[in-house]
Amino acid sequence: MWQLEFDRGTIRLAGLSDTSSVPPACRWDDRTQTFRAEAHHYRRIVEDLVRREVPYQDGVRDWPKVPWRRSFERDAFDHQREALEAWIRSGGRGCVELPTGSGKSFVGVLAIEKIQRASLVVVPTLDLMQQWASDLALMFGTEVGVIGGGEYEVRDLTVTTYASAHLHVDRLGNRFGLVIFDECHHLPGPSYSQAALGAAAPFRLGLTATIERQDGQEAQLETLIGPLVYRRDITELAGLFLSEYETIRLYVELEGDDAAAYLRERSIYRDFAAREGISLGGPRGWREFLAATNRSEEGRRAFRAYQEQRRLALAAPAKLELLEQLLEQHAGDRSLILPNDNDTVYEISTRYLGPAGTHQTKLAERKEIIQRFREGEYRTLVTAKVLNEGVDIPEANVAIVLSGSGTVREHVQRLGRILRRRAGKMARLYEIVTRGTGEEYTSEKRRSHRAYQ
């Protein structure tokens, strides 16, 4: 009789009597004198043993069946129902791609209700963790555990972050029958993927707005979660779900001393690169530049010059003047202000005495600030990166991007946040760009995505 045990992200198979009955994906481990497999093969192993009628004792499965019932009715949209059906047809393993704001998380709720097992939801940020936890608590009328941001509480419904999940999978990998990976494009990669590899959960659901990763690792998702089972494009759903929006780009100029300083610092680092024979536009240019700046005091100076000119372009004082005008113009609206770095977040917050959130903001305060912003007790919110992904603030109708790093995904998600469906809402996205600097290029790149067209 085989004995299956969960052992720190793997499954140990002891009690071998006949080597011909070794299931797939198992290897001999002479350290423990047992067979062993990675935990994500649990389903394959059990299916194989059952099919061949090999007797076994299952010490892995530590997830209770729970009769999850939604505490109130809410009709699913066609695309949500179709997504769930496609996922079930694929055996409860697979990824669903839907645009931000189209109700991805409700597909997750439907999956939890369908599978009826203890379930874990993995999300990229603490804000999303908080949001899922309160949504699930409301939806199922139950207490929800959270792991992350200094909290550790495991329940039959638990929400955690990617950063925590892979650290705790050794202990919790056999505790949940269903794992939902929200914004699952985060999962591939040597560390985070452990959260999927070390889990025994036979049912897995990936949710994302943009499955394509720049490094092409999406193929890994098929192993870690399952195949892409359903996808709808933003253009197929726009109008139906997303509020109308417009983007407006505004330019500011660097003035006086700043303009001179910008040009000076810029030429210091560019001259240095030229002398070192580095082409900054080339594919390896940036890495070569970084390496060269480590080798001499002159290089250190060039690196400082690079940082300084970037800071000048990003934080041009004229941007704050323009921001002030926009805030006045939109005094009756709910505005998100999105600078590029935390120093600017605090500068704006201190200057205008308005609420702000960064990675340094503790969980409780973060929750309170977002809550108050949604209820209209606060009408502005300054934040850099923390709230970037998927956090639900449908009440916001103005976003002011003070500068950005230019990766496509970040801006689709930023847009998504102020584009949530709401009757009669006309959302507006401002981009404030410093003319004649590297920022202009970044902004062009950002606009090439289809969500902006």
Binding site: D170, L197, R300, E324, P355, Q360, Y378
Partner: protein
Amino acid sequence: MLTNDLLRIRRGRKFVHAEYVDEADPDLLELAKALIDHHRAAIGRKKSFLDDAIKDLLGDGTDFLLHRGLARLLEKRCRFEVESVLPPVDLRRTVFEVSTTRRAVGGGVAGLDRTAVLEEAAGKLEISPEEVEEGLYADLDSEQILRDFRAYSPEKLLQRYNVALAQTVLLRAHQLKVDLPKESPARYRQIFRFLKFYRLMHRLDGSTKSGYRLTIDGPVSLFRYSQRYGLQMALFLPVLLHAESFELEATLEMRGGKRIFQLSAKDGLKTHVPDTGTYIPEELQRFGERFNDKIDGWKCEPQSEIVDLGGQGIFIPDFTFTEEATGKKVWLELFGYWKKSGLEERLALLKEHAPGPVLLGLSDRLRVDEKKLEELPAGVFHYRELPIVKEVAALLPEALERG
């Protein structure tokens, strides 16, 4: 331990070398002293003040990785505190409420009257507007006040740095091979205890004569190169540094492929963790001599081989007894600190994996929990200060019979 961005290594095709510092270099000792003094001088000041002071001290030099590494180790010895009349989060709530209301009532312009907002908030909180403004973000890392600094000596800081550097390299390790040619049983036990504590797995090869080789990794290592045990390996290193002689070889996953990192007792790294649990009373060491004096027909030898217990532990007998007539052996293991649950686990392991009869001696003095064993299993006995030679000798024949 340092963060990855502060790692200083030289990469070869096959090997990676850590750039240790010379712990006796007078210039470095002077720099270490200056850094320590800057920390001392910053007690009572903001963290941003300390950071600026360090930045000025270090300048644009190319050794910035080393300097920042030293500063990082000192930062871990600092305790920062928030200084504000009221908790900053309460100040913020009131200020943001006031500013939102004013903005809504008076339109944009009035809302931006900072002085008025601060005064109104101060009135509500019954403190001064200055206290409001100073405390508003006093809980940010950079704004916190350095209250306490547990200084190292400059020498200690450099020693600590070298160990931290090796530990940081090990963060990328997916396997360690450690050769331990000759250590005391107490040392071996300490090493294995910590391997277990850090949830690492091992494979044990060798013998007392040839020395032992440990291969250390984790459950998943059977399937893929995984750096997930790197942190546990790095934490284990300071324990290993207590060994008299060791050779360590780590396989690392780096950009550009696999590399080897070597470390041995000859590198002279000085561990900072206390050497715990290896104390053996001198009387115990004389137990063997007394046994051989008093007991005929048996020969007692201290400290023999290591027996691997199915990867889940090891068995290092304190004494081996050989029956002179037959050459048959009985082993004795003395259990220092013990708990009932631990003992039961131990007995089960020994039953399955021990190569022959084993006696277990339990120290009464060192029992950790209050649970007693209702009935002593065969071969298990209690002792107070030291095992009594005659009692042990009486247990030997029946142990042989049990097999």
